[in-house]
Symmetry: C2
Subunit: 458 residues, 2 copies
Amino acid sequence: MAYVEQENPDFTKIIKKHLTEENTEALLSLLEDLNTVEISNNILPLKSKYQLAIIELLDREKAAEVLNNLQQHAPVLEDIVEEMDSKQLGDLIEDMDKDDAADVLSVLDDEKATEVLEELSKEDREEITTLLQYDEDSAGGIMDPVVISVQKDITVKQATTQIKTFINKKEIDEFYVIYVVDEFNHLIGSISLSQLFIASDNTITKDIMDPDVVAVNVDTDQEKVAKLAQEYDLVTVPVIDKHLKLVGRITNDDLMDVMHEEHQEDLGQIAGTGDEEVLETSVFKAIRDRLPWLLLGLGGGMLAALVMRNYETAISELPVVAYFIPLVAALGGNIAIQSSSLVVRGLATGEIRTSDLFKRTWKELRVGFLNGLICAILLVGLAWWLTDEIIIGITSGAALIVVVCLAAFVGTSIPIILKRMNMDPAVATGPFITTANDLIGIVIYLAITISVYSNHLM
Amino acid sequence: MAYVEQENPDFTKIIKKHLTEENTEALLSLLEDLNTVEISNNILPLKSKYQLAIIELLDREKAAEVLNNLQQHAPVLEDIVEEMDSKQLGDLIEDMDKDDAADVLSVLDDEKATEVLEELSKEDREEITTLLQYDEDSAGGIMDPVVISVQKDITVKQATTQIKTFINKKEIDEFYVIYVVDEFNHLIGSISLSQLFIASDNTITKDIMDPDVVAVNVDTDQEKVAKLAQEYDLVTVPVIDKHLKLVGRITNDDLMDVMHEEHQEDLGQIAGTGDEEVLETSVFKAIRDRLPWLLLGLGGGMLAALVMRNYETAISELPVVAYFIPLVAALGGNIAIQSSSLVVRGLATGEIRTSDLFKRTWKELRVGFLNGLICAILLVGLAWWLTDEIIIGITSGAALIVVVCLAAFVGTSIPIILKRMNMDPAVATGPFITTANDLIGIVIYLAITISVYSNHLM
């Protein structure tokens, strides 16, 4: 039993030591003891030539599993498969589920992918080629075309025999749901394996099936598929084509991978780390993933500097106008990101529709305004105390309210408008929205305060 | 078949209309057509008295499912169950899986929970009471104590008979894995239901079980459990106690819920929206969830204002020093959040250990320094062009590099140090870390630039 709680020794270090010392015997004995997840996680930080050396030491089945595990680290997988020859890769891919095989092939360039496909049997080649045509983030792109289905009017005993034959032929390891179809292969119901297991032999499949089966279309976005599985507590999601015919199933492992992947993507977008992995060890890759977001911030900051230069005289005469700039920029940015992150999340899962533009904006405006009001009152007090001029307090507070309302408006409407224009609303989270609001906030704040002060204080 | 792609009419609106018109007949017919997920999602935006009215219209089984679905929206569930009487709630809870029942009970105050428990059978009460003792974010808190296990030395035929009897007795709906135990109930292996299904009658369970079963302890954090399930492609995770005895299982639906919940939590923390739901409609609740993060930003901004006031003369004589403050604050904040979000994520999943402090900080420092250097070079150019003074460019650029290195250091080390002190590292993401860095950045930037300028320009 793998009791995973104890802290393991640093296997990465040990593997690297054995590799550099070319101690193949020790390496083989260590790899024997580790399961494929442990192997994948521990070779992740190694250079790709070392990763490849380890994979070559494994037996075919284990090697295929490791390669499959590495899928979640696309750049790592890419480097490895590029260095493998087509024959070797074809052997490993043959051992994988079709959907996983297609995922691995999709990271190769076209020429190499064709070479590898030619190593496969005609049937496998055709199935995988079909899968490669779907968008990789759609249900079609993550489904396994090998799906167990039975006719609606046979007995449990007949169904059991059919299923056993099918499983032997297709070498299916695990399955949890059997789908029920009519004579045209239209999906009409589902039977969980546990229901089939306890049903008596003469029951007709139609009578124990759940007719309210939940299915997705081949084109459905994977994030929506995962959301659906989570809401409906599905272990496997059936996939249908536009004629409502059953064409595949999305299994539990892929659903969890999608959830994990989308989670990483959301966080990466909001924190400005792009697709960078936690375990990424290449400083160069980390820089490449993060720099674009920083350049955005830099650009915004430079524009802010240009704006402030326009008010040079005012700042020089009354430096107090500059004091609250960081505060106004920070609050505008925070409120914008609060609104945008909720909206982007809701749009992705379908909880918010583009037709909700007005309703959503109205809610976010009220929340933003009231939170802004509370902050503004505190700001009035501080500014008054700091400068002994009530007018400075009131002006700064009023400017803050304008800025935060605008921030709530921008943070809510931009993602929805992007979505309406069929663009990815997620670009409007994180650094993009905070930078935009920093800038807008500073311009508005300076315009308001300086026009008031120039009439009353200068 | 529920084909979920088409946009549904706005059922929330329809339900509300029927409710206010007291059109029970139309309401019942609508509720008949909707599944429990649709009902839950569509009553979510309603007031709790309406939600309760709907639940009371449903039959017991459907009502229990709706209540269970609402668990993911803790504040909503809380309002509803508080208004239900103990008898009614006891009836619904009896229909739920034990782990779900415990979750619902855990939102009640102690007195009411005791009342509801008294409505249950002795066996249910004892099982649920045991579950309530575990931390709700631990494996024990999310596990179902009803788990199917068989002895290691019986035949498949014997196992099948035992399982069928057990399922009937315990009213288990779905299961996917059977666990194999020794005579002391120690977990020693697992058999997927599909393996059992295709195995021949006389096979001994031990011979088809997977001895490398992966288990978690009752105390394991739920986020680690989900990470494990995702890595090892598990549909169900077995839970063992400190004597390695099998005490429960965590099912697929709970694993996906945990992933969803942790995802929402991470995003809420980084975006400063707390636990707020996308579908939250109460402006008051939204304000309460978001205000603390804004007050943090406000506090930081006020301190920044105080710092700047100390440099009043310098800003007044040479306003250019103020121009780059928003830029420096933004970049410092961005780099800190890039580092901290990766570290916090890695610590949560176990991919980063607290002993990695030095290694991690060193990596983040290099990434931060190199990204800062690129930004600094661009800043030097802009500052020079803007002010015609090369010294201003160089000083601002140098100050920026110091600020970003410190930001990378703070963003990496604070979460790891918090974790070492057994505190939640996640408090060090989002608004907290950006505010801290805004402030540190402004202080350092002003100190460096003004001390250089006062020697050379003023």
